[in-house]
Structure formats: C-alpha cells, structure tokens
C-alpha cells in the first residue's frame, strides 16, 4: 500500500456512495430505488437534483441513468415490495428506506415476504435485496425520525442486519450486502454521516464479511460492545477508563444477524466483564440479546453481571437538552463499567 492510499480518508456518505457506484459498475443487475435518490423526477434539466436526504446516492443517476437509478413515489410498501419482486426475479435491488421508522408502512414486505420466501418456497427462490435505512437520534428530529430499531429486524429469521461504524466498514458491508443472496438491511446512523474519520478507505472494491465483528482494541479488564455509532462512544469511554488505569477491550459488533457469538464470548471469557452499548430501546433489544447470550454461554467466566447502556424506555424527545440525555454517551458507559469493574 502506498502512502497516498494509506491515507485515503473519505466520509461515511462517500463510502456508501462509492460502494453503490462500484457495484453498479460491476454488476448490471444492481439497481437503486427510493424517494429522491436522484431527484427532479424525469426533468432533463434537473437531473440529479437531490441524491437522497443524506446525499448517499448523489451522482449515480448521471452515471447509470434513470433505468437503474429510480426515484419512487412516497409509497414504501409499494416500492419495497417491488424490490422484493425484482430481487426474486433476477435483479439485485438496493432500496432506500429513508429512516427506519418508516418500516411501519412496509414491514409486511420485509418480514412476511423478503424474510420468508426462501423458506416457504423450499429454498428455490432467493431474494438478494438490500435495504439501506437511516437510524439514530441526536439530530433534533423527534420521535418519528430518530429511532434505531435494528433489534426488531434481528428478531426475524430470514433477514440479515448489519450496522457499520465507520467509512471503511460502511463501504465493505454495503458491498457485501449487495452481493449477498439473502435480504440484508444496512442500518446507517445519521450522526455518523456528519463526522470525520481517520480510517483508511481503499478505492478498490472489498467486502467486510457479514457475521463478523471487529476487535477495535484489545484489553483485559472489561469488554465494551458497541454497535454503529455507539462503537465511537465505547472508544471514548475506553480512553477515559484507560486513563483511570484499566485495560479495555472494545468490540465493534458490525453484524447483528448473523451475530459473531464466538467473538463476543471469547472476549468476555477473557475480560470476565461486559458493558453493551446500544442506542435502541432497551426492551427485547440487541443489548438484551447479547446480555442473555453472555449470561447463558459464558456464565462461569463472568466476574460481574453484564451491564447495558441503552436508550431509555421512552420515545425520542425533540427538545435538545432532553435528547442529549437520551442517547448513550461516554459518561454513562464509564459509569456502567466502573460499577462492575471493581
């Protein structure tokens, strides 16, 4: 790797955009659909007027045309369902579900059709559909535009769920998702879209394996498990805990279904203590799922009860001071860690 490559820093948004662009180039069966992913309807004079609310799809329509990059009306059930049908009949559609709360109008297509067709039809139909959706609070957008919800999709057999935490794995997971023969949902955190990263992102295509987590840093005293945005929170907390003299392991989950049980269990078997940091609602959440896994499978190794830092059992408040209390942060993670570390 040359020096120039080694320092190729792009934003989270650019990483997703690049993954889409490269897969569109590579595979003619890939298409992208969603609201305003191009913008301007079919007005020739206003081609590429929008590029998605987060600009994840900016520029694609100019390169690949309106046959493959399709603005949709606001009818998620209609176009997510169309994605399912297109996937089952020979395309590899990427469907943009702008924010995850809008799952509510199209859940049937995701959980009754995409998730179940392969099973119900005896393995003879595949649904290589990718759904990408925005998650997370912290943007003053209130209860219906700030949910996380990856836990409810993880609940359903037949779906795969991944949550990138930086531009490198955002690109690699998106590429892997598109190539995967099962339906995959990619959950992109809205706060991450606005942040700067130091990670190197290769220009060439690569995949990050779905189902694998990553040890961000090794340590012996405690394991912090982060998911997407909360991996950053874990890293910040780790820094502070290290200042206090503890050796901290940070695991970036990346994939919720399948989940890297082995990596979680080996880390916890080593450190014997775990804090799971998850922005989703606490009840029946991925954090509870991991906590249960650890309790059930690493019981004899645990020196202290598993701890969780979740959002509270409340809708996301609009008012900024309240919202700031809502999202898991460094302080809460450090506090939870200190509770069990001694």
């Amino acid at each position: 790797m040359t020096q120039a490559e080694a320092t190729r820093q792009i934003s989270f948004i650019q990483a997703i955009n690049e993954a889409l662009r490269q897969e569109l180039q590579r595979d003619p069966s890939v298409i992208v659909m969603g609201e305003d992913i191009a913008g301007g309807g079919e007005r020739e004079d206003f081609q590429d007027a929008w590029g998605g609310p987060m600009r994840l799809t900016k520029g694609l329509v100019n390169e690949f045309g309106r046959n493959r990059i399709r603005d949709t009306p606001i009818s998620e059930a209609g176009f997510v369902g169309a994605g399912v049908g297109a996937a089952a009949s020979g395309l590899r559609p990427v469907v943009d579900l702008m924010y995850v709360s809008f799952y509510g109008v199209c859940a049937d297509q995701i959980t009754n059709n995409a998730a179940k067709m392969h099973y119900m039809f005896g393995g003879k139909v595949t649904v290589p559909l990718t759904i990408m959706t925005g998650i997370g609070a912290g943007t003053n957008s209130a209860a219906q535009h700030s949910e996380t919800l990856y836990s409810i999709f993880t609940h359903f057999p037949g779906l795969k769920c991944v949550v990138p935490s930086n531009p490198y794995n955002a690109k690699g997971l998106m590429t892997a998702a598109i190539r995967d023969d099962d339906p995959v949902i990619v959950f992109n955190n809205r706060q991450l879209m606005g942040l700067r990263f130091d990670d190197h992102v290769p220009e060439d295509q690569y995949t990050v394996q779905i189902g694998k987590s990553e040890i961000k840093q090794e340590g012996d005293d405690i394991t912090l498990i982060g998911i997407g945005f909360t991996t950053r929170v874990c890293m910040e907390a780790a820094e502070e805990l290290e200042e206090q003299g503890y050796s901290v392991e940070v695991l970036d989950l990346l994939s919720l279904s399948p989940m890297d049980n082995d990596a979680i269990l080996s880390s916890v078997q080593k450190t014997r203590k775990v804090v799971i940091v998850d922005e989703d609602y606490p009840r029946c959440s991925i954090a509870a799922d991991i906590s249960a896994l650890v309790a059930e499978e690493a019981f004899d190794y645990l020196d202290a009860p598993p701890r969780r830092v979740n959002a509270p059992h409340a809708s996301v408040p609009y008012s900024r001071p309240l919202e700031a209390l809502y999202v898991p942060n460094k302080e809460k993670v450090v506090e939870a860690a200190l509770e069990i570390i001694d």
């Binding site: 297109a86 005896g122 003879k124 037949g158």
Partner: protein, 325 residues
C-alpha cells in the same frame, strides 16, 4: 363477445385446465376433510379467471397469487404431483412441504408464489415487472387478488408505480363477491374495482369471469399491452366461489341459496363445454376423454403425495438463509 380468434387448441387447453383445477380442488377438499391439511381455500367456481389469462403466458412470464391459488398454479402449468404433495406437507412438494397450501411456488414455471397476506403480492408482482423492464425482456407479470384485497393500500401504491413506470404487470381482481363473510357491495366504496384504474390513468376492465372465452379476450389485450411496453391493466373478473371461505364454513350463513344457484347455473366449465360443442370444436367423446385424463392425473397426484415421505427433521432449520454463519 364474438370469440372469433379462439381456436380449437386454445379452447381444449382451457377446458382441460379448468377440469383439472376442479378435480384437483375436489380432491384437496377430500384430503382436508380426512384431516390431512387444514384451512384449504377452494377455488372451485373461479377456474376460468386464471385459465383465460394464462392461455397467453409462457414459462418465462410470471404469475403471483393469494391464499386461494391452486387454480393459478395449475393454470400456470405447475406439476400436480408436487402441488398435492405440498398440500400434504410432504418433502416432494413444491416447497418441500414447508410452505403448504397458501404458499405454493415454482419459479421454474414462473409461479412466484401464493401468499397468505391479503394484498401482499401486488407490489411483489410489480417488482417482477420492473425486472422485465430494466432488463428489457418482454416478460409479463400477472398478479391475482380478491375483491377483499382491493381495499389494501398496496394495490393503489402499485397501480400508481406501475402507471408512472409503465410496467408490464396485469392486476387481476377475482371479484368472487365475498371476502370471508363480507360482501363486496359492503366493503368497496363506489361499487366498482375496475373503475379505480381511471384515477391512475391506466385501463380498467370489468369482465365476466365465468366465461373463459371472455377472460381469454380480455387477457389477450392486457398481455399484448404489457408486451408492447404500454403499461399495466386492471382487470376485474366477476366470479364466484362455490364453497365456503376455507372449506369448513357454510356460505349460506352469509348469502342466499338463490344467489349461489345463479352462479352455479353459469358455471365456467359447463359454459366452455357448451361453447366447444356448439361451435363443433370437438366431439363430446373427446371432452369425455379429457375429463377422464384430468381425473387420472389428479388421482395420480394424490397417490404420489400420499406415498411421499414427510420432510426430514433437519429441514426445520434449512432454507432460512441461502448462507448464514
């Protein structure tokens, strides 16, 4: 309608298809009554609708259905043995017995699945048409659904989407006048489903679904429109289910014997038979041969299914994913 263009081959194929469906459904009912499956939604009475339509399709075209889809499957050319085996939950079934009566599919023959959620396949079929459009093939996608399903929002979302993208999809509403025990005239504001197409700038046609010849004519036009790239059509076929909603229920709890008789008197098979004989497309004896061979095929399927083994226990956890680790 004059039916001038329906030739002997088409008529006999349609006759045979409808008789096969009828025999298959009668047998399915017996299997259900014998306790081998539950909740079998019989399509008896509605045979003409998919038959007249599928006469214009080939294996590369797609059909998608509903909870009541045995007739769609047979009209699309699915293997009776594998269908009956699926009904009985056997490993030789179309879905290895894992889908069952509401989830029969055979992608090799272009049947992309029955579906147990009312209305749910309508956008899926629209997406299948999108594949044809994006790839520039001239495949057609046909989705069948009930009068009850017309109240689901996805129908409207899909007509809109197919309308703006001019997709080769045909929306076929089998208006059998009931959704469970709810009469069509109660649940459909405005009193017509085909009329709703206007609002989307697409053609909407109401047709006598008890006449396979009428269905054939209407189907020809819709399929031609789709293949020509002129976009979707909404067809409302006026038909009737002779049995209860799922078999065990008595339809006379919510409708009159006179009404039932009215439709039975206009039976699609009797109808087609008369047309064939009147037009001298075939002799009575030829039709009797067809009748016999249909029955034989269903009997063979029944034997095949009953003799087939249940799936292995490992199947429980297979096919959840293509790959998962």
């Amino acid at each position: 309608m004059p039916y001038t263009e329906i030739n002997r081959d088409s008529l006999l194929w349609m006759y045979e298809t409808m008789v096969t469906i009828r025999r298959f459904e009668e047998q399915s009912r017996r299997e259900a009554d014998a306790g081998k499956l539950r909740g079998m939604h019989s399509s008896v009475g509605q045979e003409a609708v998919p038959t007249g339509l599928c006469a214009h399709l080939d294996e590369n075209d797609y059909v998608l259905g509903t909870h009541r889809s045995h007739h769609h499957c047979i009209a699309k050319g699915l293997d009776l043995n594998h269908m009956m085996a699926e009904l009985l939950g056997k490993s030789t079934g179309t879905g290895k017995g894992k889908g069952g009566t509401m989830h029969i599919a055979d992608i090799d023959r272009g049947m992309l699945g029955a579906n147990g959620v009312v209305g749910s396949n309508i956008p899926v079929a629209t997406g299948v048409a999108l594949t044809a459009k994006v790839k520039g093939t001239n495949q057609v996608s046909v989705v069948f659904f009930g009068d009850g399903a017309s109240s689901q929002g996805v129908l409207h979302e899909s007509m809109n989407l197919a309308g703006i993208w001019k997709l080769p999809v045909i929306f076929v509403c089998e208006n059998n006048r009931y959704a469970e025990a709810t009469p069509f005239e109660y649940s459909v504001a405005g009193g017509s489903i085909s009329n709703r197409a206007d609002g989307y700038g697409i053609p909407g046609v109401s047709v006598d679904g008890q006449s396979v010849m009428d269905m054939f004519e209407v189907g020809r036009e819709a399929v031609a429109r789709a293949r020509a790239g002129d976009g979707p059509t909404l067809i409302e076929a006026q038909t009737y289910r002779y049995m209860g909603h799922f078999g065990a229920d008595d339809p006379l709890g919510y409708r009159s014997a006179e009404e039932q008789q009215y439709y039975i008197d206009r039976d699609c098979i009797a109808n087609c038979r008369a047309h064939i004989l009147e037009g001298s497309f075939a002799e009575e004896s030829e039709l009797e041969e067809i009748d016999a061979s249909c029955l034989a095929a269903v009997n063979e399927a029944t034997e095949f299914a009953n003799k087939s083994p249940f799936p292995d226990p490992e199947e429980l956890l297979q096919d959840v994913y293509v790959s998962y680790s």
